[in-house]
Symmetry: C3
Subunit: 346 residues, 3 copies
Amino acid sequence: MEFTVGQIAEVLSGTVEGDASMRIDRLAKIEEAQAGSLAFLANAKYEPHLYTTSASAIIISKKQALRQPVAAALIRVDDPYLCFSRLLEFYQQTTRTGRRGVEEPAFLGANSTIGEGHFRGAFSYIGEGCTIGRDVLIFPHATIGDRCQIGDGSIIYAGARIYADTVIGARCTVHAGAVIGSDGFGFAPQPDGSYRAIPQIGNVVLEDNVSIGANTTIDCATMGSTIIREGSKIDNLVQIAHNVEIGRHTVVAAQTGISGSTKIGDYCVLAGQAGLAGHLTLANRTTVTAQSGVGKSIKEEGQFLQGSPAFNLRDSLRANAIFRHLPDLARRLDALEGSKSATEKL
Amino acid sequence: MEFTVGQIAEVLSGTVEGDASMRIDRLAKIEEAQAGSLAFLANAKYEPHLYTTSASAIIISKKQALRQPVAAALIRVDDPYLCFSRLLEFYQQTTRTGRRGVEEPAFLGANSTIGEGHFRGAFSYIGEGCTIGRDVLIFPHATIGDRCQIGDGSIIYAGARIYADTVIGARCTVHAGAVIGSDGFGFAPQPDGSYRAIPQIGNVVLEDNVSIGANTTIDCATMGSTIIREGSKIDNLVQIAHNVEIGRHTVVAAQTGISGSTKIGDYCVLAGQAGLAGHLTLANRTTVTAQSGVGKSIKEEGQFLQGSPAFNLRDSLRANAIFRHLPDLARRLDALEGSKSATEKL
Amino acid sequence: MEFTVGQIAEVLSGTVEGDASMRIDRLAKIEEAQAGSLAFLANAKYEPHLYTTSASAIIISKKQALRQPVAAALIRVDDPYLCFSRLLEFYQQTTRTGRRGVEEPAFLGANSTIGEGHFRGAFSYIGEGCTIGRDVLIFPHATIGDRCQIGDGSIIYAGARIYADTVIGARCTVHAGAVIGSDGFGFAPQPDGSYRAIPQIGNVVLEDNVSIGANTTIDCATMGSTIIREGSKIDNLVQIAHNVEIGRHTVVAAQTGISGSTKIGDYCVLAGQAGLAGHLTLANRTTVTAQSGVGKSIKEEGQFLQGSPAFNLRDSLRANAIFRHLPDLARRLDALEGSKSATEKL
């Protein structure tokens, strides 16, 4: 993929200062850009890079004054960040998600329908009785079980596993290796100490605009549905257990685990490697910091939690500040008691 | 799948009160059930739902008295929970695990045998020299390496990866994306600071009735076997390193990691996101709470461990109760010393 | 695979004491060996096993004196450990990584080239415009996206997912289910509280001799490259976010997570379940202990870090030693104040 500076300027309704015939074959950050790259300047903090960058061209505000000569060609626009974002989306679409049609062999089960504009990669599998919308991309090795529904414009990347009866909304993204709908971890202890599997017959529902990261696992409900509501974004290697519900526009970072039947509110943020016990309720706009372990429901909105077990972030920061100095505290206590023995025995 | 209330009652040897011709197309919890659902009442705590549920029919004890009129049809039986469990298993079998035969294309290597009643999904792969029992289900995209053994009635879900020489017992379940038999993480440091891989030539053995969760990883032994004994249940995204042994009827919750050569006893419970160092031994009936990190062997049976590093649960709870109040303790110590400076400098 | 003791001795240029016609069909540790096994003795600590092992043959130093009769045949060599390592590598190669050629059906996209001596398993997928070197093994169900480069002698195990534009060096190993190049977790908050995906158009670069564990996930850079430098070894279920750089000969143990744009130095060790915040820099030879959470950059080389939040290992050990005794400290403080009330109220 190669364009001239002039072609790009035309698409962006921008004006060129410098060599409009310069050839561009990639997009880059202004501080990392090399010859052949197109970068952008939107934040005044990065202006010094303007005079040192190796980029061949830079998208820049019409209002930006220059304090030194610039080697790169400039494309002057009203909103450099917006223009660059559009180029990024165009680039992503042409290189990653632009393919259409069917690569053979691909498997399509009986009584399954799929809308126009789709891509089905080689070795992709769609079971029986599925209803799949328009412009859906199903990459190689993806498995779609029986009776699944997938809305318009969703992307199922390579090797994602969608168990039977899963419902996926429109414009969702499921990354490679994610597993959606595996059996909930439910085992009833028997009198002899062994365990018997409790059948898990529910499903998983992803509403519209949900994103699921690579190798994340989402178990089906025992009965009913495990639900991820509109617009929520789940990172890689996250565990979401049976009957969990995650609200709208909530973000869950990598390697976090949510135990069975817990309900997370809207606009929450769970940072990486956090853990939530089962059967909890977290109010809207709750933030859980990285590696924290939440064992109690949170009723008040907008709380910040830290620690394992987690409590109020401000109190946690203060307690941790003292924690590092525990040996000093113990020594001071010894001194007050007029004896070193107590702490030294620890 | 649709049945009448009368048909279900006949299968369960129950008697109907109400409309036996009502049509049922799903199973649900009494508190969530909608029209068309069959629910059950086994626990007195849920009796109030009996009079408000939208379920079309309810399985109920022959002895249960009614204190108000019930809209749903009732199926009277001796043991409602047992009857409902049988229906759940029947439902699961007909919708998820009832398929038999071979979907093409499927790959079967030379000198491999597979018993009657099996299912091999499209794009499933079985290497050379495998011995696979009766009624084994191998879902699409599963990979079974050379010389593997799989016992009767086991289920290998979509995209599970079974490396060469793995031994899997009868009635095991391996969920989607689980990896069994990958190389142990063994690297010998060289004089120049680089690492050289130590060949990992052992295997993994799962005994009977073992369940492995989605995207869990189990490394093969360096030599000999990594072993998971009869009846143990492993959740999603668990890491089990080379030469680990897990005893009988032990439960390991999601995202827990067990380092190399550690031996876990029988009837243990490892909660979510726990971590175990290498070369440890955990006695039977040890419980490790969520996010705990165990760095020492546990010799006495029946211990509860918490914390990172982990110690006795009761002591850990007490220490954590004080931890939150460390700033108070520090201030009290300042006051006793007649000076605020020490803690304020922290 | 079966050899006589005499055949093995000849390969190793060793001399036999005992029955050279004894048949060997596996390799084992001396303390676990059974009949038919070949073991080795390199460490004096294991000498007692020499007189009790059931191994059929033992590789042993020419200089090793015997203090009791030995039942097994002995193969005398100069360096027993080195000889045994060579046998292990030979065994691994013949049983796991010796296959060559193409199993059908396998998918090879337009304009892709692959060197001599390769293996492509059934249902493996290679996209368009890929350049793949000599002696590369691509196991069943592996997905190689468009325009990928893979160097000589690399192994891509079953079901690994390599997104488009990934660059993999020579002699790399990517284990089953690993995902390389998935979208970075980048979402821009919108005025209405929803999130908009920031296009992720960069790639992942693995330099030579890198090993990636099973079900590990490595996100592509937003722009530019996520990089893992020469010789680094990554264990299972590790999360490496967008724009991370990992130096040379660094080891990352299972279930560790590294947040976006963090740079790890050379010769570092990150133990299991550790977490690193984003935009940090870790100096060369930094060690992070298991379950630790690093929130600050480390500038001085050779530091050991522990805790969540992590600080100096020695200080962390001391603070943890006191932590367990916090209830005692609180009681002593009460006693000094002449009042039990303060702590009892906690």
